[in-house]
Symmetry: C3
Subunit: 136 residues, 3 copies
């Protein structure tokens, strides 16, 4: 049995944001046993798992991916939507747009140091739409 | 209930190709509510989601990943299968080989600007095998 | 129907390790038709698919990701847990923490050259916890 739960995340500025609580409260009671798939309906923001404790991890993630995928490369052709747009699609290709997580005993089976991240690659904050699917 | 649908994609040259229609026609009628998992049975081509509209996005993806993961690095040891092979495995590690997508009202719940991509990392075109799994 | 199978992997040193057999023996008999989701409960080790034959592929993967994501960058802020820790989180963001694989005729539908990898990004070997979920 599969149920889909659309969630619209509050707009956030560019950066790496932990959204575990927003996802959980958007979905409501979890099944006792199951899986959760999280899908983001965009191509310039990603969903991932990463470290949930030290805020400097999020700052270092932002800086690292900005250095690996630079803005304003002279050979970019897709430039009409702003200097942050093509890098957003490349970062999205690397980090991805869907993850699947086990649910045991009515809880997400995240490791101690794991949180769910929204990676916002655009400068302008915008509401981002997720579809959280539960299957049991 | 799970059903598997093997699809052999037409051979394409190196690059980033939108295959949404080929996947959908290979699977047939979608269930009203469910999930689709797409798995590619190769390690030098990836499946991903990305922008479905401007062809220059695909050209910039090709150029970007070629610059992040270079060919002919003097320290590569796995060189027997050609200069495009080891970079293919590295790009594949980054972009990935499986994605999961929600199905609502008999349609894939893709965002407006999202398409399904085959990322072909090898120069020589070859048929690529997918297994598309539907669960309801 | 979903069943979860926790697996504790033997500690391995930093590098790229094929764990297909360890996953399969930890799960036991596979269903005739289904899907397997593998989730790793850590943020400094990844699960992925890659080439299963030539050991130099694993050496080149280690070297490549070490060059793309360097240690001891002077601008890293998250340094308290060692010089291999922040790079581990960045590599993990790229490679990912969950994959989904089809099961047909009681076997994983891996391609001929595909294996399941543990990517261990930390220098110190430690036991890594997976949750392997089967759904039928």
């Amino acid at each position: 049995m599969i149920s889909h739960h659309p969630i619209t995340l509050n707009p956030r500025g560019r950066g790496y944001h932990i959204i575990t609580d927003e996802v959980l409260s958007g979905v409501g009671t979890l099944p006792k046993t199951g899986l959760m798939n999280i899908f983001i309906q965009h191509t310039s923001a990603s969903i991932m798992i990463n470290e949930n404790y030290d805020p400097t991890v999020r700052e270092d993630l932002e800086e690292s991916f900005n250095r690996i995928v630079k803005e304003d490369e002279p050979w970019y052709k897709h430039t009409a939507e702003g200097s942050d747009d093509m890098p957003a699609h490349i970062k999205g290709a690397m980090i991805g747009f869907s993850i699947s997580l086990p649910i045991e005993n009515g809880k997400l089976s995240l490791g101690t140091w794991q949180g769910i991240y929204l990676c916002e690659f655009r400068n302008a904050p915008s509401a981002r739409k997720l579809i959280v699917s539960l299957y049991t």
